[in-house]
């Protein structure tokens, strides 16, 4: 009883209640650590529309669909569990988890993040392949990282095959007699 009395008497002058926002109005959120996993921020400029984040998303909040000329990437923040797997996998570092945790809203439309990226159409048949930016990025990456001796050959091949969809590419390789399947038929 005496120890409890001592603890109670020492507690009389030291309340631990702090005001909200944590830390007071001058230093907003000063008690929030830097690594807090809050709302993910999608960068419009850097995203290439590859869809890797939609495969990795643990809860299915991140989806994309192709509509007409655009690839539309939609992230439903009400379903997001802030795990950070999209941030790990993005090849362009376009996703960052900020420390913003005040996401309560009564208009559901405001909790959806939408990115629209133009699609690239096949030069031969016109079906959309993928986004323009992704094709440009693929070309850039190959040309910067490939062995210097075969760089010219690679550049020529890319200009021939990169802008075709896979059906047209298949037909073209039959025509030019370079399809790999021919090794299995004979």
């Amino acid at each position: 009883m005496l120890k409890a009395l001592k603890e109670a008497l020492s507690a009389l002058s030291k309340p631990v209640t702090i005001t909200y926002p944590a830390g007071g109005p001058e230093e907003k959120y000063s008690q929030v650590p830097k690594g807090l996993r809050g709302k993910p921020q999608f960068d419009d400029e850097k995203c290439i529309g590859c869809g890797a984040c939609t495969v990795q998303c643990s809860s299915g909040a991140d989806t994309y669909h192709d509509e007409g000329e655009l690839r539309i990437l939609e992230v439903k923040l009400s379903k997001c569990i802030f795990c950070g797997r999209c941030q790990e996998i993005c090849p362009e570092d376009a996703i960052k988890l900020t420390t913003d945790f005040e996401l309560a809203n009564n208009v559901k439309g405001q909790l959806i993040v939408r990115l629209e990226l133009p699609l690239f159409k096949c030069e031969n048949c016109g079906t959309p392949i993928t986004t323009e930016r992704q094709l440009n990025k693929i070309e850039e990456r190959i040309l910067t990282q490939i062995n210097a001796q075969i760089k010219d050959i690679a550049k020529e091949d890319l200009s021939k095959y990169l802008h075709l969809c896979k059906n047209c590419r298949r037909k073209l390789s039959y025509k030019l007699n370079i399809h790999t399947r021919k090794h299995y038929l004979y």
């Binding site: 009883m1 409890a4 009395l5 109670a8 008497l9 507690a11 009389l12 002058s13 030291k14 309340p15 631990v16 209640t17 005001t19 109005p25």
Partner: protein
């Protein structure tokens, strides 16, 4: 001064003191737990919203309850259900007139005011129990049974310790007891055992821990007050505020010379108020530090610890009186 004017002034003083003491109980309970509790001064950014102080928080609670709708269940006995809180409140206001607030009182200088006061205190609880027994909820029935058991055990020790003080001062009038202390010594030094049992009995009557068995939230929802809502619940709260003042003033009159250390009424009243704040602080600390008894454990504890102590204090005061010390 005329009778009625005194009664009105004392009702007003009792009301204000009741609110302040209830505020202090809640504030010390919260501060002992590292919390803030109701605020004496509000933060600057919240002043526009809340006003500048929350010291009248118990008053706001009662006023809020008076705004709400009173729901009376169909299966209760309606007359008893409605009348009992009203009678309980009237009796608790009536009990204020028997104690002296630093020399200022209505009936404290009559003979036998001690016995009147103890009757009224028992009647307050009994009418409250009648009201709760008439509500048809099973929680209320368990709560009433527990509270009645507690009432039986606590009232006895309160009675005996009050009587042992009356024996020392050879009078049953509260004002005479105070005058006897002014000549000799405050009775808390003469018979401390009676003081201890009286203080613990106050905990039992006010339903503070460790004796808040009838209001145990974890087991029975709200005990006897479960079916009350709105204005009737407000009346029950009010009667508890008045009873707080009465009991604390009773303790000070019996043991601490009623704060009447001089002949000036104003100085006496100020000393009285300071003493009420100190006694409430002690009560609230005990309330903050203890868990709750079970009803059979409480009954056993009161019978084996408090009853013998109060009987010993009675015998002690008899011995002192017969030896002619006082």
């Amino acid at each position: 001064m005329s009778f009625i004017l005194k009664a009105l002034i004392i009702t007003l003083i009792g009301f204000i003191l009741g609110i302040i003491l209830t505020f202090e109980i809640r504030k010390v309970f919260a501060r002992a737990q590292y919390r803030l509790g109701p605020l004496t001064s509000v933060y600057p950014e919240l002043k526009a919203l809340l006003g500048s102080t929350r010291i009248l928080q118990p008053l706001y609670d009662v006023l809020k309850l008076f705004y709400k709708e009173t729901i009376i269940p169909q299966t209760t006995s309606k007359i008893l259900f409605i009348i009992s809180p009203v009678i309980s409140l009237l009796l608790s206001v009536f009990s204020l007139y028997f104690v002296s607030f630093g020399g200022f009182s209505v009936f404290a200088n009559r003979d036998h005011s001690l016995i009147w006061l103890i009757y009224v205190l028992i009647a307050i609880t009994i009418f409250w129990l009648i009201g709760s027994a008439s509500s048809s909820s099973p929680w209320a029935i368990i709560g009433t049974r527990r509270e009645a058991e507690l009432l039986f055990s606590i009232e006895f020790s309160l009675l005996i310790s009050a009587f042992s003080i009356a024996i020392i001062s050879n009078s049953l009038s509260i004002q005479e007891i105070v005058y006897a202390q002014r000549e000799f010594l405050p009775f808390i030094l003469v018979n401390p055992m009676a003081a201890i049992t009286f203080l613990l009995s106050i905990l039992g009557k006010l339903r503070l821990k460790p004796f808040d068995i009838s209001e145990a939230e974890v087991e029975i929802v709200s005990g006897p007050c479960t079916e009350y809502s709105g204005k009737l619940l407000g009346l029950i709260y009010l009667s508890k505020y008045f009873m707080t003042v009465t009991l604390v003033a009773f303790f000070i009159d019996l043991f601490l010379a009623g704060g009447q250390i001089s002949n000036f009424t104003l100085l006496n009243v100020i000393t009285f108020i300071i003493l009420t704040l100190i006694v409430t602080f002690i009560l609230s600390l005990i309330h903050a530090l203890m868990p709750r008894f079970k009803i059979d454990q409480a009954f056993k504890w009161v019978l084996t610890r408090m009853w013998p102590l109060s009987i010993i204090s009675l015998i002690f005061s008899l011995i002192i009186r017969s030896l002619g010390v006082v």
